[in-house]
């Protein structure tokens, strides 16, 4: 009987050997294995969602692809690990993923107590409420006595508690593990209200039986800056994550798109030249080649392209730029300059 154990031990040994060997920095590890392991959600349309063929798309997915483009010049050198809300931080802490790009809200406790660093904000979100139109509710302040469906283990659960408590409104919370279960329960009429990040409400509304019967209330009750997360203590990798996002934003600001990036390389604008590596050695300073940002824009696009392709007005989600527009167009998106 003990012979049976042999192939399994063999298999186990192979499984361990195939994963990363202990290395000094994340960048070295990533370069050694040839791809970036990226933690994403288990399926949130517009942010990270697999299609029927298993290809991942979304705003968060594009950020990982952009990092792969920056490191390898190849946006496909990335593998995705779907993570539940519960697993996401330990997966990053333990080194199972190199970067977590999973609509994760930047909060002080997460930034300081979990050994993690937030590399920026790729989507400014806020928590909203969705209700049935026939309830006749126009403001969230009329929701006293409502039962509220939401996801467990997220900041939304805490925000909704704060909101109802501070407005002295009784409520009943029904918190589910997975977004799909929340939608199913809300659709069945278990709850009067569905609350999550506003972007999520638009995404999940598509899954309801009659999306037209539901409306998203105008109130936004929280700040939800969503962004990529890396491990604390590896500043080089932290910089790469931070500046990948900044490069996408700067590219949009400077009008560099995946279509015109080759022409723009010859541009006279010194900002563009610095961004695309025609001038200075900014890429080398973060451990990459100087055409890192060129690769990002060429392979993935700038922030605007990514936004419009995944969540923008022409997608089923139909979210307008709003606060996610660039700072000079009325939004919050402001990337430090490359210089």
């Amino acid at each position: 009987m003990s012979k049976k154990i042999l192939p399994l031990v063999l298999g186990a040994a192979m499984g361990v050997a195939a994963t990363t060997a202990a290395g000094a920095t994340t960048l070295e590890d990533v370069k050694a294995k040839g791809f970036i392991q990226c933690g994403v959600s288990q399926g949130l349309p517009g942010f990270s969602n697999p299609d029927a063929q298993g290809n991942w798309t979304g705003l968060d997915v594009d950020l990982c692809r952009a990092m792969a483009a920056a490191v390898f010049g190849d946006a496909s050198a990335v593998k995705f690990t779907p993570l539940s809300a519960k697993e996401r931080f330990t997966a990053l802490q333990s080194g199972e993923v190199d970067v977590l790009s999973r609509n994760t809200t930047w909060t002080m406790s997460r930034d300081t107590q979990l050994g993690l660093n937030f590399a920026g904000v790729n989507y400014y979100d806020g928590q909203g409420f969705m209700v049935r139109k026939d309830l006749g509710v126009t403001s969230a302040l009329e929701l006293s006595g409502a039962s509220v469906c939401t996801n467990t283990g997220t900041t939304t659960e805490l925000n909704v508690a704060d909101y109802f408590r501070s407005n002295n409104m009784p409520y009943e919370i029904v918190a589910f593990e997975k977004a799909d279960e929340v939608v199913a329960a809300y659709d069945a009429g278990r709850c009067d209200v569905y609350t999550t990040d506003a972007s999520g409400l638009y995404a999940q509304r598509l899954k309801l039986t009659n999306p037209g019967d539901h409306m998203v209330l105008s109130e936004i009750i929280s700040k939800e800056p969503l962004g990529p997360v890396v491990r604390q203590g590896d500043d080089e990798w932290f910089n790469i994550a931070k500046w990948t996002l900044n490069a996408m934003l700067n590219a949009e600001e400077l009008g560099v798109t995946s279509a015109n990036v080759d022409e723009m390389k010859a541009s006279d604008n010194p900002s563009v030249k610095r961004l695309l590596g025609a001038e200075g050695a900014f890429g080398e300073a973060i451990g990459l080649s100087n055409d890192w940002a060129y690769n990002i824009v060429k392979n993935v696009g700038n922030y605007e392209e990514s936004f419009n392709a995944n969540v923008g007005p022409d997608t089923p989600l139909g979210i307008s730029r709003g606060v996610n527009a660039l700072w000079n167009k009325g939004g919050f998106m402001y990337a430090p300059p490359v210089r």
Partner: protein
């Protein structure tokens, strides 16, 4: 795991001492102890280094912090300002509740189905057979989803209700019952209940003695029921009815959102609880039914024939002859089914029932204290298991003593 293999691998090393079984056994055990300690040391030291490297603060201090999240069912006082420790306690009580109610219904249903499996009536027999084969071959998680999501769509919405006697109401928000409000003086009813239970214990002892001595039977069941139910009821009326019922309030006018049952009036049994209890009871009942059938079949047919020959009818034969003997066969596997049900209640995490795993998961997410939370989970379930099996072993021994 590899530890167990070592005692075969290490054997031929010392030929001279090998022939002494005592030395050999001490050697094996030493190897095992060293291996276990080494493994333990390896795990603990790695964990400590990993935690330090990742700047994760470990310890139990987080239990005191404010939880900040609400819940839809708590048996004790709980609000968003309570601590994480309190939240875990609420989850623990919810686990106990669903396990206790689930065990009750699973036993009831399981015995009915198990006896139906042996019925002479072909339709009943086949139905019970189909029930068992259908239910126990489908994963429990799937059944929980079915009860929660499929059945949820079939019951009336928030602004409607099904009512029985205008006292029990059911809609998608849950089952509403009147809530007893105890007023001063009602503690006497509680005392009366305790007195009733103690009195019926002595009555049953006296009755057994009398039957053993004289052969005369005494209606123990009915007199005990009379004592346990009757004394508190008399006390209730004597003390001037110190209890009122708070009926659920069904609002039918005003804004649509406010219509339906008012929050926090009467008792609300949440649908998550109903679905989980239904799934757990129905699933476990299919296993209990098989255990009961096997137990009854294990009692030799001669017992039935002898009882019939003594003039006992079918009912008393089953109750007085077959079941007591079958119980000895039934109890050990029944215990493990109870334990399974308790452990399976952790699947509550899939629907929004706030049990220990679900509440713990939320705390884990807010605080990131994975090791502590998983430690609490394991410790709680392990103690529940050990307590239940200790109790059932004790009970089993008592039952076994009947055999002379």
């Amino acid at each position: 795991m590899s530890v167990m293999e070592q005692d075969s691998a290490g054997a031929p090393a010392r030929a001279s001492l090998m022939n002494d079984p005592k030395v050999r056994s001490i050697f094996y055990q030493l190897v095992l102890v060293v291996a276990v300690v080494a493994l333990g040391y390896f795990i603990v030291s790695n964990t400590i280094t990993n935690l330090e490297r990742q700047n994760i603060a470990s310890g139990w201090g987080f239990l005191e912090n404010t939880a900040g999240f609400g819940t839809n069912q708590s048996l004790v006082e709980y609000s968003e300002t309570s601590s994480y420790g309190r939240a875990l306690y609420v989850g623990f009580l919810n686990t106990l509740l669903v396990a206790a109610v689930g065990i009750f219904f699973a036993t009831l249903l399981g015995f009915i189905i198990g006896i139906a499996r042996l019925s002479n009536n072909w339709v009943i027999n086949r139905l019970a057979y189909c029930y068992v084969e259908l239910v126990r071959n489908i994963p429990l998680l799937l059944q929980i989803f079915f009860w929660y999501f499929a059945v949820l769509r079939a019951i009336p919405g928030k602004r409607e209700k099904w009512s029985i006697f205008d006292t029990f109401h059911l809609n998608i928000g849950g089952m509403r019952l009147p809530k007893p409000i105890w007023e001063p003086g009602s503690e006497w009813v509680g005392y009366a209940l305790i007195i009733g239970i103690i009195a019926s214990y002595f009555v049953s002892r006296w009755a057994r003695k009398r039957q053993e001595n004289t052969g005369q039977q005494f209606p123990v069941f009915w007199s005990a029921m009379g004592l346990i139910v009757g004394i508190p009821i008399i006390t209730y009326f004597v003390t001037g009815m110190p209890m009122t019922l708070e009926h659920p309030n069904f609002v039918e006018s005003g804004p649509i959102l406010r219509q339906g049952f008012e929050l926090n009036v009467g008792i609300n049994v949440i649908p998550e609880f109903l679905a989980l209890t239904a799934a757990l009871s129905i699933y476990t009942a299919s296993f209990i039914a098989e255990i009961v059938r096997a137990g009854i079949q294990a009692v030799s047919h001669g017992q039935t024939e002898a009882a019939h020959a003594l003039g006992l009818r079918n009912g008393p034969t089953l109750r007085l002859v077959i079941i007591p003997q079958a119980m000895r066969v039934i109890i050990p596997p029944l215990t493990s089914q109870y334990l399974n049900l308790t452990k399976n209640s952790s699947l509550a995490v899939a629907i929004a029932y706030p049990d220990l795993v679900s509440m713990g998961g939320t705390v884990l997410n807010q605080t990131g204290q994975a090791i502590e939370i998983i430690g609490i989970w394991m410790a709680v379930y392990l103690s529940l298991s050990l307590i239940t099996s200790a109790f059932m072993n004790w009970y089993n021994q008592r039952m076994a003593l009947v055999e002379r």
